[in-house]
Amino acid sequence: MPIESIPVSPGRTGAAASGPTPRLSEAEFAERFREASRSLWCIAAAVIQDRSRAEDVVQDAAVVALGKLHEFDAATSFLAWMGQIVRFVALNQGRKMMRERAAHDAQRHDGMTRPMTFSDLTLDARVERALAQLDETARACLLLRTVMGLSHREIAAAVGVPEGTAMSHVFRARKAMRGMLGDIHRCASGEGAG
């Protein structure tokens, strides 16, 4: 998707400002980006489901954001604005990766004697696989909650959903994960090995 076509709304909250809209300088952008980069990485990783590419996604999103910096209202949430851009960039790249992965898997499975079952996997691998079964918004909410320790309000802003929806995503994602993982007490030996 061309950069111009990524719909990004500044998302001003609260009462309409009476004066000129405050803008970020590039130095201020860099500072806010540095503060938010780890949360943005979580969003990218949740959407694209490939940790190795999450950093590239966030960097690509930063390029887009710099081009649209004049559209951002500095009085609004930087994380919400950047999170929206990261999601769009990640979705675009994710679709491309899905096509590549499908072609790669079709080739790889030809040579495998036995596909690995869920019970063969270590806990971390099982958790990652179970996480992949959730929808992208639920994944992002759960990661921002467990990895970044954000509040539901912060998660809601970052993911662009109402606070109640963010909470619901977290609770349901936790429950669904435990349901998919089953009895994880029997796979203690695999922790950390992936």
Binding site: R51, L143, S168
Partner: protein, 191 residues
Amino acid sequence: MSSRMEGEPRSSGGPRAWDAAPPELRDEALLDAFLAGELRGPDLAEFEQRLEADAELRAEADAQRRVDRSLRRVFVPADVRLPETGLVVREDQAAVQTVRDPIPASSTPASIGRTRVAVAGPKKWWGYAAAAVIVLGGATVFTRFYTHEERLPPLEAHTVYKSLSAAGWKPEFACNHGGRPARVQRATARG
């Protein structure tokens, strides 16, 4: 904004999530708040009592804690640095702006590559003049050396006249000149 260590207390920053949660998710909300270190005072004491009394809830809390640890092991957020390309693009944009001012507000990094910078050619007409000289010169050389017509010495008019008269030609015009270029008059008018 950094990832939280397990067990580190933090403020909830809003209304209690477990009160707002639908009944079927209330235990999930309490468990989530407990694991996030957001349960305090009587709420925390009450939940801990429930954990002691309810083995199933205790097992769920333990399982969830392990899942959370696993997620933190698997997903280690990177401190992403601003891309060099982004800054370069901005520098390019500034450079273009010095040539074409003002740059459209809608310009983005993607459109920068398509921006055509007008060449305000100083002394551009010299180029056209040089091209014209080269073309004319080439044409002259071509006609001078590559035309196959044999170039004969010029004949004077009276010579031609005499020759044609000797061959029986009766001209309507007569030449009254001896050797210099002809001055032709109507033969009938002269007579």
